[in-house]
Symmetry: C2
Subunit: 497 residues, 2 copies
Amino acid sequence: MNQPPLPLLPARPLSPQLLYRQLAEHYLAAIQAGALTPGERMPSVRELMRQHQVSLSTALQALRYLEQGGWLEARPRSGYFVLPQRRLALLEEVDLAAVPALMSAQYAGIHERVSEVIARGRASTVTLDLSSASCAPELYAVEALKNAAIRTLRQRPQVLTSMMSHSANPAFRQILAKRSLAIGIQLAPEEVIVTHGCIEAINLALRAVAQPGDTIAVESPTYYGLLQVLESLGMRALEIPTSARTGISVEALQLALQTYGNIKAVVVVPNLQNPLGSIMPDTHKEQLVALCEQHGMAVIEDDSYSELVPEASSARALKAWDRSGNVIYCASLNKVLAPGMRLGWMAGGRWQARIEMLKFAHTRANEEWAQMAAADFMASPAYERHLRRLREALRVQRARTAEAIATHFPAGTRINTPDGGALLWVELPRQLASKAVFEAALREGIKIAPGLMFSNSNRFDHYLRLCCGQPFTPRIEQGIKRLGAIVEEQLAQQLTA
Amino acid sequence: MNQPPLPLLPARPLSPQLLYRQLAEHYLAAIQAGALTPGERMPSVRELMRQHQVSLSTALQALRYLEQGGWLEARPRSGYFVLPQRRLALLEEVDLAAVPALMSAQYAGIHERVSEVIARGRASTVTLDLSSASCAPELYAVEALKNAAIRTLRQRPQVLTSMMSHSANPAFRQILAKRSLAIGIQLAPEEVIVTHGCIEAINLALRAVAQPGDTIAVESPTYYGLLQVLESLGMRALEIPTSARTGISVEALQLALQTYGNIKAVVVVPNLQNPLGSIMPDTHKEQLVALCEQHGMAVIEDDSYSELVPEASSARALKAWDRSGNVIYCASLNKVLAPGMRLGWMAGGRWQARIEMLKFAHTRANEEWAQMAAADFMASPAYERHLRRLREALRVQRARTAEAIATHFPAGTRINTPDGGALLWVELPRQLASKAVFEAALREGIKIAPGLMFSNSNRFDHYLRLCCGQPFTPRIEQGIKRLGAIVEEQLAQQLTA
């Protein structure tokens, strides 16, 4: 019970307008340092207003923010009180001393390891799925999307029976180009290549810049789908240490370049990395783009989550610093607009023509109907409202899930604290094998993603990725409680084994 | 004017129930042999009934069939009269003596040749497009498809916002498995892999059986999209002579195997080959499957057109003769159900697991919405009605277009006589370069597909592929007339040059 607490707030500087978060962070630090102890009464709203010269609204927001994060509880007519500290530790920064040991460019059989997990998951009866990276269907604007789709079909039914044009729908390209201004990218609509999800974009980018046998640098841990793609293309993955707070280590990548020389590309998720949830600081983004340009190594940016970053944080794309076309930008609307529509897109930088050729040769242009329906909805103010609701829902779900893990998992468990998204990355105590936890949980109908899926090495075998994309219900709390008990049981078995 | 005539009827034996076609063929042979000459009166309906012991309906159908093919004209109250013979010759059988010269496994820059044609086509103002392989949107069941799509969205709107399952929609797979019984294929629905058009299926099949640098046998001429795919995958195309009547030459393939040894696969369109429109006789299909199995060479079957083959002809798949899983079956609904829905599918034979892995790694499962809408429509009797209407519309359009070419193109022009589909393959007189015709036509807003797109060699540079997928209107007749004049002009220039 004496672990350091789980901070909900990011270490990165906040934008000045978010006074309430500065205020909340101030008090959180006090709780973490023990200056405020469990059971103690917080200053009242009026006291906060007076002491910190803030408005009523700011003081209230700060208290509610700490309450929603599980740090305070509100007692009727008495005010806010500090809750007991959690049992979880924050995942530490990447240990650069350990870097060289991780640096073998491995070509392990990731597919078989992942396939086995997937096959077991499919063969079992799953009552609670915490393994995916997707959010619940009801978190999306189902009605508005359905109406946009029906409107499209009514207005232009021949979109179903007309031969595809060579390239994507103009209105959809226009909206994507316009929206990317917010993350620092300037694109002509004609440069937007619409793809079948981000996964096709990544495939095309890799095929454009590299050949079978070539080495590609990836984050470690990384999304298992990327390791499968590399294996299916016959390319080798070089894993670069990646921090749960600041993303890929630019120093480690530089060291890898000095050590291994010819690395054709690096694939990076700069905003809300999967599975870590990290957001690279702007300085790191700038350094990474400069380093890669200097060494003639392509940057393949997977930016599928930046719309889930809170508005207060910077979610600028790596592409924003690209001056020479060395960054291939890839993104997806699966997580933000609609998981079932499989809309991805990309801008190919100096490989644009080659990527357009590969896309045409592989799958032709995407079906236009879905692009038109998406453009219809995304052009309306309802899309921004939906994104705000989605971000807020995920914030609450992350906080509730982290809280449940803190309550029900054994001491020694560590966790990340992402600023957005739907993923929590959990380190099990005493190097407990996540595969054993995966299998024991699956026997009870609970599905999780074991850490072994996220690396070609066995470095993350004692981690879990848990999805908090579903509204937090007693059923989910119950599942996490049971998961905590399973971890305890496996730890006990480990001791007696 | 003394060229041999253009037969409308196939050389393959007709199924016995189609008496009227046997009868028509009988008289067509007489016309071709000169036994019946232009201007001569045909036997009357009553005479035909008596002489051939057929019903009124059969006699009438035979006369109308010859009339629709442009062989007879009906004069009111006088009966049917033989029309003047055409100026077109039928494309001959493949000349096997010429085979060895064609056999260099070439890796020419097809993409640049095709890209240039495509780029010029895009940059120009096109008022009449005869270059595509697609049919007009109004030939499809637009209203029924729109209604099926809207019904799907109303019943299951969350299909838009739900994460995709690992594989295709069960109802859609079921219908595809059931329909393939008719072409001799037995499949479990679980074996159906749904893809983004047939082009993705071909890509996956090639990647499953071969590596970059490997040699793949293809028909010659072949669909330019296949040559682009091979180039994009770094594979080499070995062109096998292919007949406008019986498809790929099995003897030539055998010779190629003896000469070149290691050919990893052959890609074949057995039914309504693109661009030739040939249908392989069943005996050839059987021989091809046996030959490839014997030599351990995979067969990749592209069967996107078999639903357009008239019901009287055999459109059995190569896969129907497959006993060892050596045939990978690929198909598309683009040409038969809806060009804008981009639905393809495949069954991977002994490479099933590898293809499933490649599909997942490259584009994940297809959007479910389109599959559900397609399954809804295809399960209704309206789908068969639509197919019958489409086949009949194409039959009329092919006959009218061939008639217009016969009328307006110079003597020495030769043409194929496909039993189905929307493509005509035209050989220009005196080796006239189709590129010059393409460019001259494009200057007047008429777009055609020049023969150079259909081979890595220059063997088809004096051919054109013309699409007759649009209802035949005076505008189209006018365009073909103008095209004939352009060919005349280019021939004249060739003489003076």
